[in-house]
């Protein structure tokens, strides 16, 4: 198994998943979040 630079991953890289930065740059995080915020705004008007 190699990392993004093609080097073998260390045990530490396996043991500790990355969290915040990849999440904040992940389109799969922003699309449902934007839909959720939009739906809450719609809910405010539909009430």
């Amino acid at each position: 198994v190699t990392n993004n630079n093609g080097q073998p991953t260390t045990h530490r890289q396996h043991a500790k998943p990355r969290l915040l930065k990849p999440m904040l740059t992940d389109i799969q995080f922003w699309i449902p979040l934007v839909v959720l915020v939009g739906a809450l705004v719609l809910l405010r008007f539909a009430e």
């Binding site: 998943p17 999440m23 699309i31 449902p32 939009g38 739906a39 719609l42 539909a46």
Partner: protein, 435 residues
């Protein structure tokens, strides 16, 4: 070396046969989900129209919350949820977000029915499976590299299922007075978009290999939190909300029971999403409309004395749904499409630094090497006991409403549900050990 390379690699053929087995399992999970999701609505039919829809939704979500914590405890133990979480902690965010999306979508659907009636609102929000297919193709590489015949079968099949659902809703849904048509239409479309986008977190969890039992445990946190906030806001504060619960204590058990059945259906739907993807799993589970109508007609005697036109719509809609479901079920993913799925998994492994072995094993429903497997502790016993006591307490307070119920049909449908639960549950246990 030449001789060795000329011999077909048995590992690949084993992999392909496992993929085919998982595809068949996923299809049956989708169909089982339809049976249980439809039945989940049945207990709420025992509640009179005078009860606030927010009270019914809240109790259903509470029942789901209790069940979603106790069923994983019963099946694989809470410790397994924690082990799974440690491997992919970022997915907690997606699990909670999916729960929030469900609760907001559910509220929009309630408001849409209030404003334009079920027969107009339902077809609009039922577009959620098509939105889910769109996200599956765009974000998770589903149907990529699949032959055109299979792509067409899945997409046309999903559209036909939607068409069947619309015809059934025309037969079953009474036209309510349109108090605010524009607002109702936007609410219904909003519910469809929200539910369709809810499948993004679902699939993200499963291309990473997460156990559906773990995902749904976090899902319920977002779901219950959002549903409580919405109920309190819509009913005018904590005091009025509590008052509504107290004055309706005799009916609280029914939606609570519906929540349990809904969790079973949702679990099957999530296993379907894991093993056949959004594009096949969601259209199959959306055939729940047929089963819902069977409950309405056979058990609760709805649509009796209606004209021939209504029955023709029921038959026509059901046939359309069955044809669409068959088209989707028979268009399993080919080896090349499966490679495309693996690329989506690889993206997650690279981006979040997840153990590649964990992902590749769990995506195929295999226990990670070195894993101890399911292990139950005293905590699991405590959770299950508390859940059972909750059901007993609410059941003790419950009154059976004086409405006509055809018990023979109820028993028959319940027997089918149990048979489906056992058959698909045993298959899941044997093939994936509920991974």
């Amino acid at each position: 070396v030449d001789k060795a390379s000329a011999i077909p690699k048995p590992v690949l053929s084993i992999e392909r046969s496992r993929q085919q087995k998982l595809q068949i399992l996923g299809v049956f999970c989708g169909l089982a989900a339809a049976v249980w999701l439809a039945a989940a609505e049945a207990p709420s039919k025992l509640v009179t129209a005078s009860v606030s829809p927010f009270v019914i939704s809240f109790m259903m979500v509470l029942g789901a919350f209790v069940s979603r914590w106790s069923l994983p405890a019963l099946i694989r133990g809470t410790s397994d949820v924690l082990v799974d979480t440690r491997k992919v902690p970022h997915l907690i965010v997606w699990g909670v977000m999916a729960g929030c999306l469900w609760a907001v979508g559910n509220t929009l659907s309630i408001l849409a029915v209030r404003d334009v009636g079920l027969s107009i609102a339902f077809p609009l929000w039922n577009c959620n499976s098509l939105i889910g297919i769109f996200w599956g193709i765009v974000l998770f590489r589903e149907l990529r590299r699949a032959p055109w015949s299979r792509k067409a079968a899945v997409i046309v099949g999903a559209i036909v299922i939607c068409g069947g659902a619309i015809v059934l809703s025309l037969a079953s849904g009474a036209h309510g007075a349109s108090t605010n048509p524009t607002r109702g239409l936007w609410s219904a479309i909003g519910a469809g978009v929200v539910w369709g986008s809810m499948y993004i977190p679902y699939r993200k969890a499963y291309v990473t290999g997460m156990n559906p039992l773990t995902f749904l445990t976090y899902f319920t946190v977002g779901e219950l939190g959002t549903m409580t906030a919405i109920s309190v806001a819509f009913l005018g504060g904590v005091g009025p909300f509590w008052h509504e619960l107290v004055i309706n204590e005799h009916i609280l058990f029914w939606p609570f029971l519906g929540g349990l059945m809904w969790v079973v259906g949702d679990l099957f739907q999530n296993y379907a999403t894991k093993y056949v993807g959004i594009s096949r799993g969601i259209p199959l589970s959306n055939t729940n409309q047929i089963w819902g109508l069977l409950w309405a007609i056979l058990v609760f005697g709805e649509l009796q004395g209606q004209g021939t036109g209504v029955y023709l719509k029921v038959i026509g809609g059901s046939v359309l749904m069955a044809i669409g479901a068959a088209a989707v079920a028979l268009s399993s993913a080919t080896g090349s499409e499966y490679e495309s799925w693996k690329e989506a998994s690889q993206r997650e492994t690279d981006r979040y630094g997840i153990d590649a072995e964990y992902v590749s094993n769990r995506v195929e429903g295999i226990e990670s090497p070195g894993s101890e497997g399911p292990r139950r502790t005293w905590l699991d016993g405590l959770i299950v006991t508390a859940a059972v006591l909750g059901f007993v307490a609410l059941g003790y307070l419950a009154h059976v409403p004086a409405i006509e119920i055809h018990w023979t049909w109820l028993t028959s449908l319940a027997a089918i549900m149990v048979a489906v639960l056992i058959a698909v549950g045993v298959a899941l246990a044997r093939i994936t050990k509920f991974n």
